[in-house]
């Protein structure tokens, strides 16, 4: 099947999960992710697989926890306010080492916020949703075609490392339709030695996160941290464009990277040597690659649909090696390519000016 078809981002993610062999989907309506729920409501039953619209996001993710404990391949989706409710079980699933893929189609926050696209859940996604020392790999596609590729990758990472994995997209990528060649990828089914099936001819198994003895819990944390180090070593993903001769790199992911790509082309045609560094895995963050790039640059401009979240990881990565500027819009507002070009110019030629102040010049509300 190589014909190009027009697909909506949310539906493409849902169908990619179906094709990957997702056994069960649990969800709850929230804008702007409802199309994933609706797609699965139709597709999963017709394939004889499990679909439940739960009583809440708490219900949905705990159903996922139970299903994952038996070795099922599970997908859950929501948006910011729902992800906040799921934070509890994410901590439990990370601690219990259960695989699952969770899609966050980000909307504006905080609070009930807005239903427009945003990237304001970066902290939540990468710094831990719930309590305790844990991480969850986070993959951020910047196109619908890439989302289709990353869904099976997310399941592979989840099952290889026994961990929840988050796909971080936003209302723009979720709602937009793009022509894609729907190369959906089916996955092999690994054999697990830890799943619950009933203690028939073997000792009982327990999926747990409780370790009341401090020594036991520290030992368990060491196991988790070793796993996170392995993920940091093997699962870093990023893409670069026109970085070879760049004197300034825009660092952006997801929808912000789409805007940055257009801005880069405009700036290039005006003679500015601009490149794009696009993190695809937000955790683990591509710090090493960015640090290696920094000495060749005069400046970095981080562009986000937030008040500045990923910019903190960029600054940590480059360790002061290059000035890091930031430009962002919030609340569902999306930076225009023109705004980003102006921010590039400011970063290069007037570095004393905080590019964020350009928001006011652009008529933004900040």
């Amino acid at each position: 099947m190589t014909e190009r078809v027009l697909m909506k981002g949310n539906e493409a993610i849902a169908e990619a999960a179906v094709a990957a062999g997702c056994d069960a989907y649990f969800g709850y309506p929230i804008t702007p992710q409802a199309e994933i729920l609706e797609w699965m409501a139709r597709r999963m039953p017709e394939l004889g697989r499990v679909f439940i619209q739960a009583e809440s996001e708490l219900g949905a993710i705990n159903m996922a926890l139970g299903a994952a404990a038996t070795g099922a391949r599970v997908l859950v989706s929501s948006s910011g306010p729902g992800i906040s409710l799921m934070a509890e079980a994410m901590s439990y699933m990370a601690a219990s080492e259960l695989p699952m893929v969770l899609v966050n189609v980000m909307r504006g926050g905080p609070g009930l916020g807005s239903i427009q696209p945003s990237q304001s859940d970066y902290f939540q996604a990468t710094k831990g949703h719930g309590h305790g020392d844990y991480h969850v790999p986070v993959l951020a596609p910047s196109s619908i075609a890439e989302a289709i590729e990353l869904v099976p990758t997310a399941f592979e990472i989840a099952e290889r490392y026994r961990t929840p994995v988050m796909i971080l997209t936003d209302g723009s990528l979720g709602q937009a339709m793009e022509p894609v060649v729907p190369r959906f990828r089916a996955l092999e089914r690994p054999t697990f030695d830890w799943t619950l099936s009933g203690a028939d001819g073997r000792p009982p198994r327990v999926v747990r996160s409780l370790h009341l003895k401090a020594e036991d819990l520290e030992a368990h944390n060491r196991v988790l941290q070793a796993k996170y180090h392995a993920i940091e070593g093997a699962e870093v993903r990023w893409a670069g464009e026109r970085l070879d001769d760049a004197e300034i790199a825009i660092v952006a992911y997801g929808t912000a990277a789409r805007v940055a790509t257009t801005a880069m082309a405009r700036a290039r045609s005006a003679g500015l040597r601009v490149g794009l560094f696009r993190p695809i895995s937000l955790w683990p963050f591509p710090s090493v690659a960015l640090r290696a790039l920094a000495p060749r640059l005069r400046a970095i401009l981080v562009v986000e649909l937030s008040a500045g979240q990923m910019v903190e990881d960029v600054r940590l990565a480059v360790e002061g090696g290059v000035p890091v500027h930031f430009y962002g819009r919030t609340g569902g507002m999306v930076p225009t390519p023109g705004e980003v070009v102006r921010a590039v110019e400011t970063a290069l030629f007037d570095p004393e000016v905080d590019p964020v102040s350009l928001v006011a010049l652009a008529g933004g509300t900040r």
Partner: protein
Amino acid sequence: MTTETPTRTTRLESDESPRIVYQRPELLTDRSTHYCPGCGHGVVHRLIAEVLGEMGLGPRTIAVAPVGCAVFAYDYLGLDFCEAPHGRAPAVATGIRRVRPEAFVLSYQGDGDMAAIGTAEIVHAAARGELITAVFVNNGIYGMTGGQMAPTTLLGQKTTSSPGGREAVLHGYPLPITEMLALIPGVAYAARGSVLDPGTIGKTKAFLRRACEVQLEGTGFGIVEVISNCPVGWGMTPRQSMDWLRDNVAAVYPPGVIVDRGRPALSLPVASRPEAAADDA
């Protein structure tokens, strides 16, 4: 009154070899529990081990452990177990049930877990008619955290967070969650037992067996509430706590079958039927 569980081995008068009439159920691990002296959880664990063993369900059971004292149920019952976050056991059990249709799914919750933080999950699991057998141990208190007021705490009952006694105007009324669930058509069976004495324990065992049968029949959600005691949390001796259970708790939460919408069980893999105990108790 006879019970199903005579307390000593008896030798038959004929010349047959000795017959064991009481022993540790196979599904109960050979391990001392961490429960306080006089606590009812151990009795409920034993009933589960007996019923699942007699019905031959152990090897296909996936159980869900609560948060609270009984989180360690997996140390005492030889079953596959999944921990659930506080209150979420019915959702976790739902996930297991739907992807493992061949499994027997049992969830175990206390009163704080089911009737406070987990009301949404239990109500909607029941509304979906999930084929789950829910065991609900109601001792009217948060035991593990030191004896705070629970949704099922009786009016007037003193706890560490209702030091003057529970008052309706301040703390609301005790929640009859099993009766509430029994209103839902998805609930095939709802009953309330007790750990008061051998007679009521035998009856509770019969309730538990029926709650398991409705799952096997596929008729819907089954729940058995067991009113139980918490001597330490209640600030009583075990003996006093049993008097309180009989005189006060059972008056608010009366034992008995609340609803049975299931089909009569005809050809189930049940090793021994519960009628005798149920009739006697």
